[in-house]
C-alpha cells in the first residue's frame, strides 16, 4: 500500500490554494480548447506552456495535466451539438451523440452521458495508473511490431461492425480511407509516396480537416434541406434544465459500457503509438458486440458511453509510459516531456525514483481535474444545449465559419481548408448515396499504424511470416482473429445447412 501513501502525499501537495485554482483554470481552458474544432490538446498544451514557466514545476505540470485531461471532455461538446468533432477521439462520439441530440431531441442527456462516461472511464484509468502504472508500462513494451500487427488486425475487424446495411459500400470506403492515409511520407524509408508532385500532399492528408469535412461540413450541406421545412430550428421544444437531466434508468444503461471501455481504453492508452483516438474507436466497436437498448448509430446512450469512457481512460493510460519510462504516448505527452526539461527535470525511467513528489502530485491532480471538470461540465450543459434552439438559417453560416477556422488552425494554412472542403463534398455525396463514412475514418486512423508495424515486423523476421506465431502474445491474438473471422462464416454455413434440411422436409 505504499502507492496509496504516496498518492496521499500527492493529494497534500495538490490541495494548496494555488494548485486547486490552477487545476480549475486548466480544466476550464481545456474544456474550451477541447470544444474548439481544430485545436487539439497538443496545441492547447503547447500554447499554455510559456504561461506555466512562472509557476514551480509541480504546479505547472498539474495545470497542464488538468488541461490535457479536460480537453477530452470538451471534444465531445461540439461533436454532440454541431456534429463537428472537437478533436479526433470525438469522431466516434458524433456518430451517436449528434443523432441523440437532434433526432431524439435529447441533447442534455447526450451531453450528460458523455461527461459521466468520461468521468467513469477516467476514474478507472487513473486508478489503474495509481496501482500498476509501472507494471502496465512494462507490459506495453512487450507489444512490439509483431504483436501490434496482430492486435491491429483484430481491431480492423471491428470495422465490419460499422459498415452499416450495405457491406459492399462499407468496404469501398474502408479501402478509400486506407489509400488516403497512405499518401505522404513513407515512415519506414522516409521517401515520398503518392505525393503526385505536390508539396502539400508530401505531408499527407491531415486528419482533423479531413474529419471536420466528412462529418461537419457534409452536415452543413445536409442542413440546407432542413431549413425550408416548417420547423426552422433543429429543436423547437423548450429545453428545460429538468428535461435535460439523465434518469436513473439511463445511468444504469451507460455504466456497463463505460466500465468495460474504461478498462479497454486504459490498456490501449498504454500501448506505444496507439493513443486516445484508437481507444475511442475500439471502445465503440466493442460495444457493437454487446446489447444496446437502441441500435447503435441512431443515438444510443451506450454508443456515446463506450467511446467517451474509452478515450478518457486512454488519456489516463498514456501517462503510464510517460511517467514510468519517459516515453510520450502522444504528441501532447511529448510536449509535457519537453516542458519537464525546460524546468530542469529530466524525464525518463528515473523520474518516479528521483521525483516521486512530482509524479504523485501529477496523478493526484488527474483525480482532482477529473472531478472538477465533471462538475464544471455538468453545470454548463443546461446552457450549452440552447445552441440547438438557434434557427438553422443562422446555424449554416456559423458552422461553416467554424469549419473554416477550425481546419485552418489545425494546419496553420489554407491547405487544411481545402482538404476540409473537398472531403466535405465527398462526404456529402457518399452519405447521399447510402455509404456510411465511419469505416473510412476508422481505417484512416488504424491503417498507417498497421502498415508501419507490419512492415517493421517483416524487417525483423527477414521477410518471413512466422512473426505471427513466434511470440505468445501475437499467437493468442492471431487465434482470436481467426475466431472472429470464422464465427460468422461457420454460423452462416450452419444456417444454410439447417435451411436445406428444413426444405427437404
Amino acid at each position: 500500500m505504499q502507492n496509496l501513501e504516496l498518492l496521499f502525499t500527492g493529494f497534500v501537495t495538490v490541495f494548496s490554494v494555488q494548485n486547486v485554482l490552477v487545476t480549475m483554470l486548466g480544466a476550464v481552458l481545456g474544456l474550451l480548447i477541447g470544444a474548439m474544432p481544430g485545436i487539439g490538446s497538443l496545441a492547447g498544451v503547447a500554447l499554455l506552456l510559456p504561461l506555466t514557466y512562472k509557476f514551480n514545476p509541480t504546479t505547472a505540470i498539474i495545470m497542464l495535466g488538468a488541461l490535457y485531461y479536460s480537453n477530452m471532455y470538451g471534444g465531445s461538446f461540439s461533436a454532440i451539438l454541431l456534429n463537428i468533432p472537437g478533436d479526433s477521439p470525438a469522431v466516434m462520439t458524433a456518430i451517436d451523440g449528434y443523432p441523440m441530440a437532434t433526432k431524439r431531441k435529447r441533447p442534455g442527456q447526450a451531453l450528460y452521458t458523455s461527461n459521466i462516461s468520461s468521468f467513469t472511464g477516467g476514474l478507472i484509468g487513473i486508478c489503474i495508473l495509481t496501482f500498476m502504472g509501472p507494471a502496465l508500462a512494462e507490459l506495453g513494451l512487450k507489444f512490439g511490431p509483431a504483436e501490434m500487427t496482430s492486435l491491429l488486425l483484430v481491431a480492423m475487424t471491428s470495422i465490419g461492425w460499422l459498415v452499416g446495411s450495405n457491406p459492399t459500400k462499407g468496404v469501398v470506403l474502408t479501402a478509400v480511407g486506407i489509400l488516403i492515409a497512405s499518401m505522404g511520407m513513407d515512415t519506414l524509408t522516409g521517401s515520398p509516396r503518392f505525393d503526385f508532385g505536390s508539396m502539400y500532399l508530401l505531408g499527407g492528408v491531415p486528419f482533423i480537416p479531413f474529419v471536420i469535412g466528412t462529418v461537419g461540413f457534409a452536415q452543413v450541406m445536409k442542413l440546407v434541406d432542413e431549413k425550408d421545412k416548417k420547423s426552422n430550428n433543429i429543436i423547437n421544444e423548450k429545453l428545460t434544465i429538468k428535461g435535460s437531466m439523465i434518469s436513473l434508468h439511463e445511468l444504469k444503461r451507460l455504466l456497463p459500457p463505460a466500465i468495460r471501455s474504461g478498462f479497454l481504453g486504459t490498456f490501449v492508452g498504454v500501448l506505444p503509438g496507439a493513443g486516445a483516438t484508437t481507444g475511442a474507436f475500439l471502445g465503440y466497436a466493442t460495444q457493437k458486440a454487446f446489447k444496446s437498448e437502441e441500435p447503435l448509430g441512431t443515438g444510443a446512450i451506450e454508443g456515446i458511453a463506450a467511446c467517451e469512457s474509452a478515450n478518457n481512460a486512454a488519456a489516463a493510460g498514456s501517462f503510464a509510459p510517460l511517467l514510468a519510462l519517459g516515453i510520450p504516448g502522444s504528441g501532447t505527452g511529448a510536449v509535457l516531456l519537453g516542458g519537464l526539461m525546460m524546468w530542469g527535470l529530466n524525464p525518463g525511467p528515473l523520474l518516479f525514483t528521483n521525483q516521486p513528489e512530482f509524479c504523485w502530485s501529477l496523478i493526484a491532480s488527474l483525480f482532482l481535474a477529473n472531478i472538477i471538470t465533471l462538475f464544471i461540465a455538468l453545470g454548463i450543459i443546461p446552457f450549452l444545449v440552447r445552441i440547438l434552439t438557434v434557427p438553422i438559417k443562422l446555424m449554416i453560416p456559423a458552422i461553416t465559419m467554424v469549419c473554416i477556422v477550425g481546419s485552418y488552425s489545425s494546419t496553420n494554412s489554407l491547405y487544411g481548408v481545402v482538404v476540409m472542403l473537398i472531403s466535405g463534398v465527398f462526404g456529402f455525396l457518399f452519405e447521399k448515396n447510402g455509404y456510411s463514412t465511419a469505416p473510412m475514418l476508422l481505417s484512416f486512423v488504424l491503417a498507417p499504424l498497421l502498415e508501419s508495424n507490419m512492415r517493421k515486423a517483416f524487417i525483423i523476421s527477414h521477410g518471413s511470416l512466422d512473426f505471427f506465431v513466434k511470440s505468445p502474445i501475437s499467437l493468442v491474438l492471431v487465434i482470436l482473429l481467426i475466431l472472429i473471422i470464422s464465427t460468422p462464416i461457420i454460423r452462416g454455413s450452419l444456417k444454410i445447412v439447417k435451411n436445406k434440411k428444413q426444405n427437404k422436409k
Partner: protein, 151 residues
C-alpha cells in the same frame, strides 16, 4: 431497371475504381512490392488495398444500377460556393474580412434576417473567431494582399 441519367450513384463507385487502379499500379511499379531480404516495400500495402478497392468498387457499381437515383438540390451547394469564395477572398481581403462579409451577406441578404439578428450572430462569431482563435490561441490568419500592400 436502368434509370435515365448517370447520377452520383454511378460516378462514385466509378471514381473509387479508378482510384484503386491508380494506387495499385503506381504502388506496384513505382514504389515496389516485395524485397527478398527486407520483405515489404512502400508499395506493398497500397497495391493490395488498391486491388481490393478496384474489385469491390466494380461490385458496388453493378449494385448501384438498382439504387434509387438521388439528386441533391442546388441549395445544398451554396455553402460549398461560399467556402470557395472565402478562400479566394482570403488572398485579397484576408481571412477575417472574407469570413465576416460572408456572414453578413448570408444572414442579412440571403436569409433576410433582421439587422438585430445579424448583429447578434456577428458579435457571437466575432468573439469565437477573433477573440478565441485569433487573439487567445494566436492563430495567424492571412491578412490578404490589400493589407500587405498598405502596410
Amino acid at each position: 431497371m436502368f434509370k435515365e441519367k448517370i447520377g452520383t450513384k454511378t460516378i462514385l463507385p466509378l471514381g473509387t475504381t479508378i482510384l484503386g487502379i491508380i494506387f495499385s499500379v503506381i504502388g506496384f511499379f513505382k514504389y515496389g512490392f516485395w524485397d527478398e531480404n527486407i520483405g515489404t516495400l512502400p508499395g506493398f500495402f497500397p497495391t493490395i488495398i488498391g486491388l481490393l478497392l478496384t474489385g469491390i468498387s466494380i461490385l458496388a457499381l453493378f449494385q448501384s444500377i438498382n439504387d434509387e437515383k438521388n439528386s441533391s438540390r442546388k441549395e445544398n451547394w451554396y455553402p460549398v460556393l461560399a467556402v470557395i469564395l472565402i478562400i479566394i477572398g482570403n488572398f485579397i481581403f484576408g481571412m477575417y474580412i472574407s469570413l465576416f462579409a460572408f456572414l453578413i451577406y448570408w444572414v442579412r441578404f440571403y436569409e433576410k434576417c433582421s439587422w438585430k439578428e445579424t448583429i447578434v450572430i456577428f458579435t457571437i462569431m466575432f468573439v469565437i473567431v477573433v477573440g478565441a482563435f485569433g487573439a487567445w490561441l494566436n492563430i495567424n490568419f492571412p491578412k490578404g494582399l490589400i493589407y500587405n500592400l498598405l502596410f
